[in-house]
Amino acid sequence: MHPFKYGKTVDLKEAINQLGSQPKANLIAGGTTLVDLLRLNVVTANHLIDINQLPIANIEIFEAKSSPEIGARIGALARNTDVAMHKQIIKNYPLISQAILSGASPQLRNMATVGGNVMQRTRCAYFRDTAVPCNKREPGSGCPAIGGLNRSHAILGTSESCIAVHASDMCVALVALDAQVLLSGPQGERKVALVDFYLLPGNHPEKENLLKPGEIIVQVELPHSPFAKHSHYLKVRDRESFSFALVSAACALEIKNGKIVDARIALGGVATKPWRALDAEKLLLGQSPSEGLFAKAGEVSILGAKPQKSNAFKVELTKRTVKRALLAAVGE
């Protein structure tokens, strides 16, 4: 591991200052992505800024009456376990709790933070191996996954340069529920929809998100959710637990008088960023829930997919996963 200087701070401004002013500085929260990648020399840092003492670990839930815009605020340092087990998150946003609990292991969830989860890196095996080229790790060096071992890679949002999956479960549920991230940096604060925070790989897979130098994720904000009654996170993987998704679907429906009035479908394990299947959502509006309808939504959710040699199975698997998640959301 490359030598680095370690420092910590209890002050957000100070952290932003240090992050912006030191060359090759990196924040460390839970460490479950960063220590892993530092040890593989995939990431090198000259300076680590430990942000675990910053006062941004709160989880706040708001009533619609007193706060019409914001339903919940989750601090970037809230641990994944604490979010998943929070009584009101379970009550108002069960999709988030289910998605988190389907990921990693209890030990890792105890360590992992919300901000770190948003920022986690791909599990592409070539990315993690410095002996081989990788456009994301070394821009311009090539992508051995295209034409190589790509069973776990993406079929949506890919480019000629990179087909790596964004591996988060939590973020799939978050984009389904229109989460926003609050960023704080040298130029002040700004809010971005999480789904737009992530960039498609295009010609620059090394640029993964909108974060500017010195910016820190402070919190995740959620609007009030009408979906608590009818939502489901379904994750399909090679083994039953402690495994990344081959395909996952976060589905949420609002149903009034037997008709679907609002619908959300987000996909994980198949795309280069947490993916909203907007056309499939539209198809559901105004309809009565039925198996046939949900099967159609599954079909539409994967339109435009570009499978590789070894991951074509994900096309059919995604259709079925979406259908099953929607059925589960209406209790069948």
């Binding site: 591991m1 030598p3 680095f4 370690y6 460490g31 479950t32 892993d36 430990d50 292991s105 209890p106």
Partner: protein, 210 residues
Amino acid sequence: MTYKISRRRFGQLAIATSALAALYEYNFAKSNIQALAKQSPAWQGGNIPKLTKVNVNFQVNGTKQAVEVDSRMSLLDCLREKLKLTGSKKGCDHGQCGACTVMVNGRRINSCLTFACMHEGDEITTIEGLAKDGNLHPMQEAFIAHDGFQCGYCTPGQIMSAVALLSETCGKQDSDVAECMSGNICRCAAYPNIVAAIQEVRKGKVNASL
């Protein structure tokens, strides 16, 4: 002429050969370690460059410890190499196996994925800290009673997770226990016996917490 080697001579030869082999291995290991040390001063123990040196104070199994570590030293390596608490094991060093599971401030974590220097003021419990007054923790007893291991390499991590599980939310069924224990891999597949041991302690639930 018959070529005869006396028993004594044979013994001397054997010792000389194995000594040579040992010396060779020693030199090989030494040069390896030196190469690693160049690359990674965390290996040098006492001789840490200023840039990466951090002093940290924490409690391990109820005892205050003040250690000087390389900033890159994992909590796991610190426990094993600095404090000689070798119960916690290194299986993968990447968060994938759970052999390094310890408790920090009452919660189980993978000690391989955190740096020792990040734990100023923390209370750490390792497998060595479970027994009280010479008596094994009920979970340790149950693992023995149910044969919850074969080679034993994953066992300290399994037991730390199992003890942590007692104060977490976990369903009643065996399948719930399996899910809550999914962060601990056992190459010997002692899983059924591990689940049985945990279920016994949970049902009894006598003095089973930390």
